[in-house]
């Protein structure tokens, strides 16, 4: 790409000169007031939903329509509020965990403990699959073992805060905890297995030749900077996913009011042994963000599909994505990509069966 040179501002179009201000830094007191307001609102969602459904819309109580509408009016603000709070919190937590710091924690780690730490750090370190390649190179060229790197790369997309909040909001803490726990376990074990297989020869040779630079200077962040990071995360993530969330809740509301409970039971129920592998095989080439997949999860569970099957489907959609594998092809040879997909796929399969048997 040819460098572009600008000598004076007169050469540039007028709209290239910024007019907005970025000084709107949220103060601590504002955050506290915001949190108090959030709590007050959140506590009153139930009466609010009843008031809208029965007093404003005047729908006959305990009709199918009233059930669906009350569900939607109650769940939409509830889930969006939860999402906002958690994304804000996660944005602040992530301001403490830069990839550089994570790498320093993981460099030269012994395998097993390294895998545990990498899976946990995968949850809190900011990650975007578009940066998977520089991250991979940055890790393996500075002494993070291959298997530990994989634990990180598996946990980071698989355990998604949006999915976690939506599961918590729609299905309760048990389902959310299952998702978190099993996601961590899959990342840990898969990374450990890949490490034990010693597959370094299937990493493209030029990767280890690269001289990785020191990285960005450590910036000292104030609490205001961190609050701003939280706010930016809310703007970015909630701003992007809210239509999917509403669509998911609308689907859920329809199911809540209308669809008979065991519609999916024959196809995706506990009794059907092949439903778990089928869910994984369908899920891998599918690519969706976490918010987009929740409506489907909602629909499947509501119609009587087994939890293990649905969990397996969701994890293979968000945890194993074809685009990410294509991106990783730059640094990994095909056998390693297949091993990676195979090991993680088997892990997801095991989780699916486990929950169908236990629950």
């Amino acid at each position: 790409m040819k460098p572009k040179t600008y000598q004076t501002r007169a050469e540039l179009p007028a709209d290239a000169i910024p007019s907005h201000s970025w000084r709107g830094v949220p103060r601590l007191s504002l955050v506290l007031i915001g949190f108090a307001g959030w709590w007050l609102l959140y506590r009153h969602l139930d009466p609010f939903a009843q008031w809208v459904t029965y007093d404003i819309l005047k729908i006959a109580a305990s009709s199918r329509l009233s059930l669906a509408i009350e569900f939607f009016v109650f769940e939409s603000p509830k889930v969006l509020m939860l999402l906002t709070l958690v994304v804000f919190g996660v944005g602040i937590v992530r301001s403490f965990f830069t990839p550089e710091r994570t790498r320093r924690l993981l460099a030269g780690r012994r395998e097993t403990s390294g895998n545990v730490l990498a899976s946990l750090l995968g949850v809190v370190t900011p990650f975007c699959s578009c940066s998977a390649v520089p991250l991979f190179i940055g890790f393996v060229t500075t002494g993070v073992p291959l298997g530990v790197t994989f634990s990180f790369l598996i946990a980071a997309p698989m355990i998604n805060e949006v999915a976690l909040v939506l599961l918590f909001g729609l299905f309760g803490w048990k389902v959310a905890a299952l998702y978190l726990g099993t996601g961590l376990a899959i990342a840990l074990v898969s990374g450990w297995v890949i490490g034990r297989l010693h597959l370094e020869r299937w990493v493209e040779g030029w990767v280890y030749e690269i001289k990785t630079g020191a990285g960005p200077e450590e910036s000292r962040l104030t609490w205001e900077d961190r609050a701003r990071a939280g706010r930016d995360a809310v703007k970015d993530i909630v701003g992007r996913v809210w239509p999917y969330v509403l669509a998911g809740i609308a689907v859920g509301a329809g199911i809540h009011g209308y669809v008979p409970q065991d519609f999916m039971a024959s196809i995706m129920g506990k009794g059907t042994w092949w439903s778990v592998p089928l869910a994984v095989v369908i899920g891998i080439p599918m690519y969706s963000n976490a918010a987009g997949i929740i409506p489907i999860v909602q629909a499947l569970l509501g119609k009587g599909a087994a939890l293990g099957t649905v969990l397996a489907f969701m994890m293979s959609v968000i945890g194993l994505s074809l685009p990410e594998m294509v991106i990783l092809r730059k640094v990994l040879k095909i056998p390693l990509i297949l091993t990676f997909a195979g090991v993680v796929g088997l892990g997801i399969l095991a989780v699916g069966y486990l929950f169908n048997i236990v629950l």
């Binding site: 790409m1 460098p3 572009k4 040179t5 600008y6 000598q7 004076t8 501002r9 540039l12 290239a16 000169i17 910024p18 907005h20 201000s21 970025w22 990839p99 550089e100 790498r103 900011p126 975007c128 578009c130 940066s131 390649v133 520089p134 991250l135 190179i137 940055g138 890790f139 060229t141 030029w206 690269i210 001289k211 990785t212 630079g213 020191a214 990285g215 960005p216 200077e217 930016d232 730059k330």
Partner: protein
């Protein structure tokens, strides 16, 4: 002064490039703006999250798109350092 936008061509990299163009215009000083898209060139800066912004060989931001006024302040600081 040399400014580089590092990134392998993702949507956010384009946003950062546009934001940097605005900042350069606002700063009103001579700046050479360059896109760096080759992965080994990017790794030389040790950047693990793209896009990243490099001013006079120093990584100023990575994995985020700083608003134009923030970039302007870095340009000004770098300019002052260069002339001192």
């Amino acid at each position: 002064m040399k400014i580089k936008v590092l990134g392998t061509g993702c949507a956010k990299c384009k946003l950062l490039y546009a934001e940097t163009q605005k900042a350069v215009a606002a700063a009103g000083i001579g700046v050479e703006l360059e896109k760096v898209e080759r992965i080994d060139d990017i790794m030389k800066y040790g950047v693990m999250m793209t896009p990243a912004l490099v001013i006079d060989e120093q990584v100023k931001a990575s994995g985020r798109i700083p608003p134009a006024p923030e970039i302007v302040s870095w340009i000004m600081t770098a300019a002052a350092k260069a002339s001192a």
